[in-house]
Symmetry: C2
Subunit: 209 residues, 2 copies
């Protein structure tokens, strides 16, 4: 710095450098759907398969975001919007880091998801609609949240007293109340393979017991 | 999902998995110092060297954060605090992704930097004080910001009418107005080597012309 003879020749490390190093195409795979539709389970299973095949991934979900980055936000429409905006920006940074980024959020509003698609480079956003019937989700209700919402103990719960706007043209539409996690993961792998996001020669994966 | 015979055996991908895959120790290297002290330049140069040596990195700085994640924030004390809080949370996610994360922010307040240290796992936060005399920074003034602040056109500018609280015990103290960028990078590489964060056998790097 004080030595003006030394000139730093900057070749900034960019997304291309980082993804070349990882020999993969950076992506944001965005899972949207009702609470208990299976978003996190499917995303987690896909991540495990991808990591096992040598891909560099990261999974963003409510667990690691609501307790940290977005711990100042509630569940009003405005706060939900800000939550998804921030997660979208972080997903963008993760993709910029060259990672295959999986994001699993109810993200009920079309405009918010559109915004995330818009801030990402062309072709790096994949919307996955994890479609499960509301009744099925209410029956599953692993955390008892639907029951609480029905009793009015939780307000503005998606599907009960807050709307869910289904994707119109998602890249992948998973019928999550009709197929297994393994089948959903294979559907996703097949799609990623088809668009050239994965190297050739993958095999369908047998998951679970 | 509908097939209750299939049980998904979850082995979640965690920080350990992700950093093992990258054969590196996840870190947050946090550069703090006055505007024009050389934070971004040194961080960018270090990143380039690390990436060239095969490490997986990401650089967070004002450029990719203030226009996105934190584009709703200004420069009041409260907004600066929220800016650093969010950046700290993102750095934590990046480290959780197994990356060596470099963050270059003025981050003038001790408490805010302490908070970032605190949310990270033990040993994963390295505070780097990029120490350059205010006069030197004012003379450099690459973006004309100090001049504007002096004329009162920018308010709450660190070092002019907003305080900078220097680190008391930074892991690395760079005398950025006395050494070159190359020397600063070598000081950092040497420290990272010393704490075992880099594999054995690195060579000091000759940078620039």
């Amino acid at each position: 710095m004080s030595n003006s003879n030394i000139v730093w020749h900057s070749h900034p490390v960019d997304q291309q450098t980082r993804s070349d190093q990882k020999t993969q195409r950076p992506l944001v795979i965005w899972f949207t759907g009702l609470s208990a539709s299976g978003k996190s389970t499917i995303a987690g299973a896909l991540e495990q398969i991808l990591t096992g095949q040598g891909y560099h991934t990261y999974l963003l979900d409510g667990d690691n975001v609501r307790h940290g980055l977005c711990n100042d936000l509630g569940f009003s429409d405005q706060d939900r919007q800000e939550n998804i905006r921030r997660v979208g920006e972080v997903a963008k940074l993760m993709a910029d880091a060259g990672l295959i980024t999986l994001a699993a959020f109810i993200s009920p509003f079309r405009d918010d998801r559109r915004l995330v698609r818009k801030i990402l480079p062309e072709g790096q956003f994949i919307e996955v609609y994890v479609d499960a019937n509301l009744e099925v989700c209410q029956t599953r209700d692993p955390k008892g949240l639907y029951a609480k919402a029905q009793r009015g103990e939780i307000k503005q719960f998606t599907g009960i007293d807050s709307p869910y706007e289904a994707p119109e043209k998602p890249e992948v539409h998973i019928q999550a109340d009709q197929i297994s996690v393994a089948e959903a993961v294979n559907q996703l792998l097949s799609y990623l393979h088809e668009i050239g996001a994965l190297q050739a020669g993958y095999e369908p994966v047998a998951l679970g017991a």
